[in-house]
Amino acid sequence: MNVSEERQDSHYILSLAGRLDASTSNAFEEKFLSLIDEGETNILLNFSQLDYISSSGLRVLLLGAKKIKTKSGKISLCNLKSHIMEVFEIAGFLPLFKIYDSLDEALKA
């Protein structure tokens, strides 16, 4: 999996490409949680190139959501493919994040 980073206005954008599973989630966890530790409070995850997520990936997102909440920050997601959206729904994860259809929409919010 590849992660690219970019700051745009008040958002810190992480764009994920490939598969977020048990073999890739540790590296992502390190990056994601360290951003929150460093004080980022408005993180946007762009999933447009993310093909797959398993419970290992969701685990990292939940850790991040809990951590950022203690700092009154937020995590937004955009461009979820339908299979990924379905996994979020089954897991009961939809209420935990602001979810947008597109990057533009997420940036405007």
Binding site: S23, S54, R59, L62, A65, I90, G92, P95, L96
Partner: protein, 139 residues
């Protein structure tokens, strides 16, 4: 009919080989992406569990994953020589719990149950043998 056998080492980097085999199978049999996603997720969660929790030594182990079909189902068999674990006995998580109290983990087996039509488990000669049946769909 065919039978695809994968010998997966107890190393998480091997998960990639499962998804590659499933992608090939999808092309060969004209299965839709959604079917392959569901099967991949189920195998992925179970194999990840086996690799992370199944073995008490540090030796290499082989997890046998076999994909086959009957008239109605795409069938996956997963066989490992780890400690006895029956995922059918795992309680479902409460997915309605809100953020602060949401437990970290415990979703993997739940995904398997949600995505697979029939799951059976048996312990045989020190092996765990899981059979997953998912109703076939075609593009």
């Amino acid at each position: 009919m065919y039978c695809i056998n994968l010998n997966i080492k107890n190393d998480l980097n091997e998960l990639q080989r499962i998804s590659e085999a499933l992608t090939q199978l999808a092309q060969m049999r004209n299965f839709p992406e959604s079917l392959i996603y569901d099967i991949n997720l189920a195998i992925d969660e179970l194999v990840t569990n086996i690799i992370n929790y199944g073995f008490t030594d540090n030796r290499e182990h082989i997890i046998e994953v076999c994909l086959e079909e009957d008239d109605m189902f795409l069938i996956t068999n997963i066989k490992d020589d780890g400690i006895a674990f029956n995922p059918l006995e795992n309680p479902d998580p409460d997915t309605s719990i809100l953020l602060e109290d949401k437990p970290i983990g415990g979703l993997g087996i739940y995904f398997v149950r949600k995505k697979i039509d029939h799951i059976s488990y048996r312990r045989e000669n020190n092996f765990n043998i899981l059979t997953l049946k998912k109703k076939k769909q075609f593009n």
